[in-house]
Symmetry: C2
Subunit: 223 residues, 2 copies
DNA sequence: TCATATGTGGTGTGGGTACTCCACTTACAC
DNA sequence: GTGTAAGTGGAGTACCCACACCACATATGA
């Protein structure tokens, strides 16, 4: 009994979890392949394609990542951390308005570089729950950034943090439509938007959605 | 032989084409049902759903509209005509800048009212060819509108007609992401953009895509 | 070397899609 | 009324998807 227990609890060195070395190698291959495939094709890419590109069987993949969402979560964990960390960089900028503009561009560029990440940020369901905390953290930091940027007098007073989500959605639309051609169009969109966020001569805008409304919009998707 | 020919070529009164009255009735039902289904669910809605809602068999539907694209083309023909005609209304406005703003809002509202039309304008493949002429007509009129709006001094000089397609893409992104909640978010996006198009204090923007690039982007989609 | 928990990949399943086949029915011309 | 081209719908096809099953292989501790 002691022996069985020892076997059951054994740990392999250097792996992410307690995996056999071959399993760990395949896990890494799967993550790498999925990262590529999702970046190219978005989250609509098929699991078969991921397994094929990783050079492992589909059953192996589903043993390691029981659902597609598990794989998505594993693949985009680091990008989501980078997303949450980016706002700290922006807050560290001595010029809050410059930090604000740079931040918006940077996040949109992260979307542009990875179709899958675009989807993760705007269009996907249960994955959203896994990244809830990171989203919240980024949101809070962004609110602070807004306060400071408004204080400089450059950011219009009626800007709200929900507008960032709106930007991500709009950017996602341009990016998916220009995935095969005119790939830089998003830069122009963001250029227009940022100039609109500059405070001068602001006419009243339609009301923004409330945060709960937007949160529901992010969750209710499934495609 | 004469008789056979007469039968083969016979025409039924009042129908769109030479259809039997029951066939014509079912055709109308299919169009109506498809209009509703596509408006609610976008072009991803299934053909089965359309047939079910029309109360006809799938075979009947596919006899009348051999491919999904044929149905889409038939359903959105009038909206595409309205789309092309809208720019004439805008040109008729004595204040070109007002006409420009109203036009942009109106087209975006057409998208907001019909998820299928949103897809038709930005995201779909062979349907695009069927509506090519109407797209071109709208594009030419819009270019004239731009010239006049710039002449008033209200529209920034670096605005190009490709930007309208970009707006449609961005709007499509917001609309699909907010289909279930926060449905009015698009109005705020358009508000921001229009204010950005007003010429004052325009910093240089990233280059727009060339028209051929954008055209390819519209055609290469398929989903 | 050996026992075995763990890992493996090919194949299968249930459900979705757009689209087709075919035996039956109906509207029309005469 | 009758012949028949035209129209009909349910069941079927081929293909995609995420995911499950299972006989076989292998890394590992003893």
């Amino acid at each position: 009994m002691q022996v069985v227990r020892a076997l059951h609890l054994r740990r392999y060195p250097g792996g992410v979890a307690d995996l056999r070395v071959d399993a760990e190698r395949n896990r890494a291959r799967l993550i790498t392949a999925a990262r590529e495939v999702f970046a190219e094709q978005g989250l609509d890419a098929s699991m078969n394609e991921v397994a094929r590109r990783a050079g492992v069987g589909v059953a192996t993949m589903f043993r390691r990542f029981p659902t597609k969402d598990d794989l998505i979560t594993a693949v985009f964990a680091d990008k989501m951390h980078a997303y949450a960390a980016a706002v700290d960089d922006a807050l560290a900028d001595p010029d809050p308005w410059h930090g604000f503009c740079t931040h918006v561009e940077r996040i949109c560029e992260m979307q542009a570089d990875d179709r899958g990440f675009t989807d993760v940020l705007t269009v996907v369901f249960p994955t959203a729950k896994a990244f809830e905390a990171l989203r919240d953290r980024a949101g809070l930091g962004f609110q602070e950034l807004i306060v400071r940027a408004k204080a400089t007098g450059h950011l219009r007073q009626d800007f709200v943090h929900q507008d960032m989500i709106m930007i991500l959605m709009a950017n996602a639309g341009v990016l998916t439509a220009t995935a095969q051609s005119a790939q830089d169009t998003w830069r122009r969109l963001v250029g227009y938007l940022i100039q609109s966020f500059a405070t001068e001569a602001a006419a009243p805008l339609p009301d923004p959605p409330t945060p709960p409304q937007l949160y529901r919009a992010l969750l209710r998707q499934k495609r």
